[in-house]
Symmetry: C2
Subunit: 140 residues, 2 copies
């Protein structure tokens, strides 16, 4: 189960700091040998990007305060989006602005410059009934 | 970027055959050492499961007919959900029916018995404006 990057993020954002990624535009440069595997992605408005959060830590605590907020009780890491996880996989739905050859321009991808990209999947909306989240989760 | 399984799927479904997974109930048995990292997951109705599709093939074609349907033109693999990808990662939003210790009972997870689970993330609904998919995508 060794991951091979399929590409890398190119972004003006070079360090990992908690921030709002809304409106952040970046590029995903896919390995040129895989260019053909992107054909048809232009038909989707949004894509799911799986990436490896190379600056996060694997040996982290099992429980954390979500979003670093001490007023939220300690919570299991799998119930949060902390980057410090047993496997450093990030998963984000981003808007696909443009595809030009092997370069995807996306908006809202919360990954810094140089982040290895592991997979791209089309975003297909689902109707999920009765979605429920805890109080501490910010509204989107 | 080596993945360590955090657990395994336990299911009555033992082989990979194209099927409708709606209503399929299975269990995710998490490594007992990570039990505490699940605390708080019960507050979410749905979870995102990342898993390794161990029976799929990494050396697959760059373009395929989506869902094996010859009438749909050849499409780049990244524009489809084919399991045969450069990295064999599956990503599914499943309903969390129950958490008992290190065992999660879920509905709608399209993974067979014995599938290594790589990560669990809480499902947090997002409002995505202007979602668009190609004609060939089945409606949910």
């Amino acid at each position: 189960m060794d991951l091979k990057p399929i590409g890398f993020v190119r972004s003006e954002i070079k360090e990992s700091v908690r921030r709002d990624w809304t409106g952040v535009v970046s590029e995903i440069v896919i390995d040129a040998k895989l260019t053909e595997a992107l054909d048809g992605l232009e038909g989707f408005s949004h894509i799911i990007v799986l990436f490896w959060m190379h600056q996060a830590s694997r040996g982290a605590s099992l429980k954390i305060h979500p979003m670093g907020k001490k007023e939220i009780p300690l919570t299991g890491l799998f119930a949060t989006r902390t980057p410090n996880r047993p496997n450093l996989l990030g998963e984000t739905t981003a808007r696909l602005l443009r595809r030009q050859g092997n370069v995807l321009t996306v908006e809202g991808l919360d990954a810094i410059d140089g982040t290895p990209v592991i997979d791209i999947k089309p975003y297909i909306p689902e109707t999920l009934a009765g979605v429920r989240v805890p109080e501490w989760v910010p509204k989107h």
